[in-house]
């Protein structure tokens, strides 16, 4: 099974609508039996193994590689360096559009960050290639490393994030601050973080003449195909990218990375299939990361707790050679009502790989700072953090003044608070202990993420045997596209899921847009929805024009499709099966095509965001400062829920990322060398099972008539936002110490009064 899932097992079959059903994953059996084939599981005949050699300096040039030693190692077939790398049709340093980044494809001997690929060793075995890479023992001419938020002169970039303005001013901020009864100003720091999907970036590439076949995890098949075609100077149709399963992506597999492409270059060079898999430590360089930030929040509030001013400044970093700016301040545009809001961003250039989108880009970093500041202000006003947030509830989007297409945040606060048991929480910190004497704290954070849509296409087919097919180049990185999109497709075709063949994960299928920005279900789902409608429309036209059909002349009344039948809308006892219609028409199938994209008119009129409220309990050892997030309750409203089982999992995952943001993960960079000193999974801490003993996600009903025809917002990223701040605020509530530097380590807490 490369790109298609078999018809469904009986257990999955449901009657009536598929959308909304908590179906188990259709790819579940493949995944629990080890049969799901991830990129690195492919093994075409004649395969060679390639291993990267990466730079250990952060700036300078490679002066020497011991090619002789590497080549002398038994099994080594070839060493690819800037000196012999096959020519490419494009300069990897040339930007090919707004979402294109400069790549390191051995174009020269310059080094611009630690971990940059400097050679590729190709060998008969993985062992030989790995040792060959070590034997290259590079020597460098190193220049001094520029690192840290003070590495150089800060500048204001032309745009931040995915293209938002670096400065937004609304109202008179200084007046708002000057006139405030309560003011706070606080600086928060967030570290560099690395996506660290469990599946390292991998590629298996083979060439057939000028045609390229690659198995590689991709959150954006069409972009990957276009990038490969451009670089190799071949037609996109001659590039075939298969990515049925991704072992996680989180943004780092959105754009095909340099190392993946180098695998294909290596295959070209040796004329044999090549597998290249990144070593874990090599994922701390050329495949993106979340940039560190320093954020200054200045808030003013009136005596009644109403915000009078909200200023959010972010200083971040980008690489010395490309541009990506963590838009951490943007979260302040939409969340809380304030007559004056100012967000500003600046950046410095450092000698690291280029940062990139990472799960809840901008929002995650911004949210932990904003939610902490809001908590600080609630305290300054002597108000309960929930009451304070309700006091500043944004009824319309604060800066634009647009109404929300839907916003059930109030209900999220209510249901979350009730479930968590928030009522009665003492205002003052350090008031609660558990039976073992551990400090207990409760914190709250508001979650938010924009409802984004990309462009996507889909194809749907109704067949004479009564079955259907839906296909598109959608990507499942764990969010459940194989299941949720099939549910949408089945409904759009009026078929039970068991009668639908569903294909995805292949670049030869219609471009379904990128799986990212929490916009994939909305985009690809809308495309499927309209493809299904198109197919049904064609089928209906056949029937209504045919005197022999009970639907003949249904014209104005219209028809509905259900369970493989077309029925008259005005009289559901009259209808016939898809098979009968096609059979009589002598057709094997009818085909529908669909397109999904944001509705510009609706966007013009409405602000579109998902929302949520996360309540966290932490326990802190009063003397040792070790922290555990013992309980999280999140209530989220994200429009229509296609599959509640999968959506809950997305929320849990996001909430755990929030815990990780607040308490665990951080890349430790040596400022002298520019190397990440914990480039592994032992010291780069992500939460383990024991770190998250209790999680609950409440799906708050929200009907959104505007966001798209399905009413779907995204659920993949919102869980981090709110959660990270809730945990940080809970730590404050437990200890009385306000964490402003993340993740929160024991040294931050033991300064406090012992016991």
């Amino acid at each position: 099974m490369a790109d298609t899932l078999p018809l469904d097992s009986a257990a999955n079959a449901r009657h009536g609508s598929s959308i909304g059903q908590p179906l188990t994953r259709r790819d579940g059996v493949l995944k629990v039996t080890g049969q799901a084939r991830y990129a690195a599981d492919n093994h075409p005949p004649g395969l060679l193994h390639a291993v990267l050699a990466v730079s250990r300096i952060a700036r300078g040039r490679v002066a020497f590689l011991d090619l002789a030693a590497a080549k002398a190692h038994p099994g080594v077939v070839e060493v690819m360096t800037p000196a012999n790398r096959p020519l490419l049709a494009q300069d990897p340093d040339e930007k090919q559009g707004p979402f294109s980044f400069r790549l390191d494809l051995l174009q020269n001997d310059h080094v611009r960050y630690a971990g940059q690929p400097i050679a590729v060793v190709i060998a008969e075995t993985l062992e030989a290639a790995t040792e060959g890479a070590t034997l290259l023992a590079p020597r460098y001419e190193a220049e001094s490393t520029r690192l840290g938020l003070d590495a150089g002169e800060a500048f204001v970039p032309p745009a931040i994030g995915a293209g938002s303005p670096p400065e937004v001013r609304h109202g008179d901020i200084e007046a708002g601050l000057a006139g405030a009864a309560h003011r706070i100003e606080a600086t928060y720091e967030t570290p560099a973080q690395y996506h660290n999907a469990m599946e390292p970036h991998a590629i298996v590439a083979s060439w057939d003449g000028n045609r390229l076949l690659v198995d590689t995890p991709s959150q954006g098949l069409a972009w990957a195909r276009a990038r490969l075609a451009g670089l190799f100077g071949i037609a996109p149709e001659d590039v075939h990218v298969r990515s049925p399963f991704l072992g996680g992506g989180f943004g780092s597999k959105g754009l095909i990375s340099g190392p993946q492409i180098l695998g294909a270059v290596a295959a070209r060079m040796v004329g044999r299939p090549v597998k290249l898999v990144l070593r874990r430590e090599q994922m701390y360089g050329p495949v993106g990361h979340r940039a560190p930030t320093q954020q200054v929040l200045r808030l003013g509030a009136a005596p009644d707790g109403g915000l009078t001013a909200l200023a959010h400044h972010v200083r971040t970093v980008t690489s010395s050679f490309d541009d990506f700016y963590e838009a951490a301040c943007d979260v302040s545009h939409t969340l809380y009502a304030s007559p004056a809001i100012v967000t500003t961003a600046d950046a410095v250039r450092v000698d690291t790989g280029t940062p990139i989108f990472m799960r809840a880009p901008g929002e995650a970093s911004g949210s932990i700072a904003l939610e902490s500041a809001i908590d600080e202000m609630a305290l300054a006003c002597g108000m309960d953090p929930l009451e304070f947030r309700l006091r500043n509830y944004a009824e319309v989007e604060p800066i634009s003044g647009k109404p929300f297409s839907s916003k059930a945040l109030r209900e999220c606060y209510r249901q979350g608070a009730e479930r968590f048991g928030w009522a009665g929480r003492p205002l003052a910190p350090r008031q609660m202990r558990d039976e073992n004497g551990l400090l207990v704290g409760w914190g709250l954070g508001t979650a938010t993420f924009p409802a984004i849509m990309f462009q996507g296409q889909a194809r749907a087919v109704l067949r004479r045997d009564g079955s259907g097919l839906a296909e598109l180049g959608a990507q499942d990185m764990g969010q459940g596209a194989w299941t949720a999109l099939a549910q949408i497709a089945a409904d759009s075709l009026g078929l039970p899921l068991a009668r639908l063949e569903f294909r995805a994960g292949d670049s030869n299928l219609p471009d379904a847009g990128i799986a990212g920005g929490s916009g994939h279900t909305a985009t690809a789902g809308t495309a499927l929805h309209s493809a299904g409608a198109d197919a049904i429309g064609k089928l209906a036209a056949l029937a209504m024009a045919d005197e022999r059909s009970p639907l003949f002349g249904a014209g104005n009344a219209g028809v509905i499709a259900r369970e493989g039948m077309l029925l008259r809308r005005d009289d559901e006892s009259r209808g016939e099966s898809f098979a009968a219609i096609l059979g009589r028409a002598g057709l094997e199938e009818v085909e529908g095509r669909g397109h999904g994209a944001a509705d510009a008119a609706a966007q013009e009129h409405y602000a579109m965001h998902a929302h949520g409220a996360v309540f966290a309990e932490v326990k802190v050892d009063p003397e040792l400062g070790q922290i555990r997030a013992t309980r999280l309750v999140g209530a989220f409203a994200a429009g229509r829920i296609i599959n509640p089982r999968l959506v809950r999992s997305q929320y849990y995952g996001g909430m755990i990322w929030g815990v990780s943001f607040a308490l665990h993960e951080k890349a430790v960079l040596d400022r002298r060398s520019g190397r990440v000193m914990n480039a592994d999974l032992a010291e780069y801490h992500v939460p383990v099972n024991a770190d998250v003993p209790s999680l609950e996600a409440i799906l708050v009903e929200e009907i959104d008539p505007h966001v798209n025809p399905l009413g779907v917002k995204g659920v993949g990223e919102i869980g981090i936002t709110g959660s990270a701040g809730a945990v940080a605020n809970a730590v404050w509530h437990a200890t009385g110490i306000r964490p402003r530097r993340f993740p929160i380590g024991p040294e931050a807490l033991i300064g406090g009064a012992p016991g």
Binding site: A40, M198, G247, L681
Partner: protein, 165 residues
């Protein structure tokens, strides 16, 4: 140099000729025996994705030198299901949505089997969480994993009792 070892893999005895002493059990399974269900997440004992049962015990196959395990019995994810029928742990993982991307899943499931056979966690969720903490899941499927292990554990002990009866 050719070094020959015998292993019993998923019930089948196999003689393996190794041309290289460096091969780990993980790379042997994945790159030489086409048993790619076992995953490599870190190759350094830090993530648990490569967990297999080695002589009945869960271990990280990435740090185990194949040569050193001559004569060993190995169970991988491919050997768990009984024909078409999922093992109770596999079924519970599906039912509790105990995975998302699925990459850590073979390791989680083999680790769960090891944990249940060790018999020290019982039905205490906290012991299950601790016992499963050697398997990272970046997607964050921990809640489902814990639930699935608890349910499978119950079912397996019930099945065992019924067998005895």
């Amino acid at each position: 140099m050719s070094l020959s070892i015998t292993l019993t893999i998923n019930g089948t005895p196999r003689t393996v000729e190794l041309d290289d002493p460096r091969v780990t059990l993980l790379d042997l399974l994945r790159e030489r025996l086409d048993l790619t269900g076992t995953k490599k997440g870190c190759d350094r004992g830090q993530c648990g994705a490569c967990t297999i049962l080695l002589d009945g015990r869960r271990v990280n196959s990435c740090l185990a030198l194949a040569l050193s395990h001559d004569g060993a019995e190995i169970l991988t994810i491919e050997g768990l299901a009984d024909g078409e029928a999922c093992h109770p742990i596999q079924a519970a993982f599906i039912a509790h949505d105990a995975f998302q991307c699925g990459f850590c899943t073979p390791g989680q499931i083999m680790s769960a089997l090891g944990l249940i056979q060790e018999g020290s966690a019982g039905d205490d969720p906290e012991r299950v969480r601790e016992g499963m903490s050697g398997n990272l899941c970046r997607c964050g499927a921990y809640r489902g994993i814990t639930e699935a292990v608890l349910e499978a554990q119950q079912r397996m002990s019930r099945d065992a009792r019924e067998e005895v009866a």
